[in-house]
């Protein structure tokens, strides 16, 4: 028994999060810079100085009088960028929360059928505008319906195993998918065009009223999720272990999933389906900053915001016409998953 000495002195063992905090601050600064650059880009050529004059004017710091510039910069570009930030944060945070809760680095909010449900809601409201209040509300409602449907379908004796959950998501996804096809079939030409465009996702309709709707809610929900980061750490070690470490696992899981789904459905209802952000950003953040969700979630959120600003700027400046941003994220996202599939096979079965 003597070979186990209990008299070790800790040799340089430190619990410090300074690097991680610094990284998050650096990310935040990059986000600000990205946004400031993105607002100067656009189809209509306005000089950098004129753009900032408009911003300063609206912040009551300086004055400028060109109303066309004001409309373009403050009424079109600004809400788009703010919305891209909010949606990027929402999707990336939700993705990180889903990955931690389901203990799988490859899930994202869309696996539970949010997208399919929301698409159906939107299509329904486009085809029958007389019955539903708005595309957004309808998309949001059916998105939530799909998730809770999948969740209750997957529950077996109070447990929700990942495999049944994914299968339930697939089932509901295909159900809503075929319903969307029916709606497309019976829809008019313009309706069909609108459905397709909505499903590809984009910020082209962004207005200040969208910003007022989305930004505060997303901010509050993501902050609550950030605060739950430590609990999510413990939960991701496994439900039984989390329970023996004193976590009320069922309650924690429900709060986490509900909030994550809520911000996702909210985002989808305004900007349509933007794939991959929820999968890629948490994953990339984990590679850089490690798996501690207290730091992972904020990093993923900011990275998501930066990513979406860049994608949206590409979408609106690459050609004279607008490209749906969902296409850009998919073009960038699919190779990332291919790379993961070929190089890190173990995470698919972990």
């Amino acid at each position: 028994m003597n070979n186990i000495s209990f008299e070790h002195k800790s040799g340089g063992l430190v619990f410090s999060n300074r690097t991680k905090v610094t990284f998050i601050i650096a990310l935040f600064i990059s986000l600000t810079i990205t946004a400031l650059i993105a607002i100067t880009r656009g189809a209509y050529d306005i000089s950098v100085i004129a753009v900032y004059e408009v911003i300063l004017d609206n912040l009551n710091i300086a004055t400028q009088t060109n109303s066309l510039f004001n409309t373009i910069v403050w009424e079109i570009r600004m809400p788009r960028i703010l919305l891209a930030i909010a949606v990027g944060m929402a999707l990336a945070t939700a993705g990180g929360v889903y990955q931690g809760t389901f203990r799988n680095p490859l899930v994202e909010p869309f696996i539970l059928g949010v997208s399919a449900g929301a698409a159906f809601g939107a299509a329904l409201s486009i085809v029958y505008p007389q019955y539903l209040f708005s595309i957004q509300l309808s998309a949001f409602m059916f998105g939530m319906v799909a998730v809770f449907g999948a969740y209750s379908l997957a529950s077996v004796r109070g447990q929700t195993p990942l495999v049944t959950l994914i299968l339930a998501g697939v089932i509901l996804g295909s159900l809503f998918g075929s319903a969307v096809s029916i709606l497309k079939y019976i829809s008019t030409e313009t309706g069909l065009r609108e459905i397709v465009f909505w499903m590809m996702g984009g910020f082209y309709y962004a207005t200040w009223s969208d910003v007022y709707q989305i930004v505060p809610v997303v901010t509050i929900c993501t902050i609550v999720l950030f605060i739950m980061g430590w609990k999510l750490n413990v939960l991701s070690m496994g439900e039984e272990e989390a329970k023996t470490l004193g976590i009320n696992t069922e309650r924690t899981k429900i709060i986490l999933i509900t909030l994550a789904t809520f911000v996702t459905a909210l985002s989808v209802s305004v900007v349509g389906i933007i794939a991959w952000v929820g999968l890629m950003m948490p994953h990339a953040a984990r590679l850089v900053i490690g798996p501690d969700h207290r730091f992972l979630l904020p990093s993923a959120a900011i990275m998501g915001a930066i990513f979406l600003i860049i994608c949206d700027t590409i979408a609106r400046t690459l050609t004279t016409a607008e490209i749906p941003v969902g296409i850009i994220t998919s073009i960038l996202g699919a190779p990332y998953l291919m790379y993961l599939l070929r190089t890190k096979k173990n995470i698919f079965f972990g």
């Binding site: 070790h8 063992l13 023996t244 004193g246 009320n248 501690d292």
Partner: protein, 265 residues
């Protein structure tokens, strides 16, 4: 310290635990021993309240924990699961810090005291050299040590261990047992599932032998694990010998073979 009174548990109509009663004293290393399917792990999970028993009482220092919440139980009882690989590469020190979760008041995570407790646990188990490594990159034996340190950081008086040596090599098995022994000598009570009668004889202060109908025998391992008891639960394959002052359980040599075993079944 830990007392069970008439515990019953059934799983889908199948009675798994019948009328289990026993006690573990302060500083005692107690083994839970018995063949497969007698409900050792189930019993541990009932005590940790991962499963809800329908009848009976579990008392910790004479306090009934039947009605306690997970957060309160986690301050009294630490559960050391079998080592496994989680999906995310948390660092060893982060995993150990998770043991402090029941003591964290605020929402933001560990305080200075929590970090100190985790450091102490790391030093006590002697795993400073791997504290900065990802938990997923360790060997099975190292991971089991980390889980032990995490339970220690939890600061409870009772440790429940689910076959802590089952996937480890001989050196690691002995190491883990010695550490558990050392912890009990510091006043922690440990209840450990195990399949190896020799480990029980070498390291434990007490053994509870579970059969299909509940506790068969309970007491000092040297007295409880007789050839008779062992052959009752294992169908006559064992023989108990003494080497110097150690007792050893070895396979019986009177022509026992695979063919007779099929006949016996």
């Amino acid at each position: 310290m830990l007392k069970l009174e008439n515990l019953h548990f059934e799983y889908g109509g199948l009675k798994v635990l019948r009328d289990i009663s026993f006690e573990v004293e302060k500083g005692q290393l107690c083994a839970l021993f018995g063949p497969n399917g007698t409900g050792k792990t189930t019993l541990l999970k009932c005590i940790a309240r991962l499963l809800n028993y329908e009848k009976g009482n579990v008392l910790v220092e004479d306090k009934n924990i039947n009605k306690m919440k997970a957060g309160e139980i986690a301050k009294l009882i630490a559960y050391v699961p079998q080592e496994h690989k989680p999906p995310f590469p948390y660092l060893v020190k982060e995993v150990i810090l998770m043991g402090r979760t029941p003591h964290m008041g605020g929402a933001f995570g560990p305080s200075k005291e929590d970090i100190k407790a985790a450091m102490n646990a790391i030093e006590l188990i002697g795993i400073e050299h791997i504290a900065d490594k990802p938990y997923t990159a360790l060997s099975g034996g190292q991971r089991q040590l980390v889980l032990l340190a995490r339970a220690l950081a939890q600061g409870t008086k009772i440790l429940l261990l689910d076959e802590p040596t089952s996937n480890l090599d001989f050196q690691n098995q002995i190491k883990i047992w010695r550490i558990i022994k050392e912890l009990t000598q510091r006043g922690i009570s440990a209840l450990t599932c195990t399949h190896d009668p020799n480990h029980v004889l070498w390291f434990c202060d007490k053994v509870i032998v579970l059969g299909n109908n509940g506790v068969i025998v309970n007491g000092n391992p040297a007295k409880a694990l007789t050839e008779e008891t062992l052959n009752k639960i294992y169908g006559g394959v064992c023989s108990v010998k003494s080497f110097e002052d150690l007792q050893m359980v070895i396979p019986r040599s009177n022509g026992y073979s695979a063919s007779t075993s099929t006949v016996e079944e």
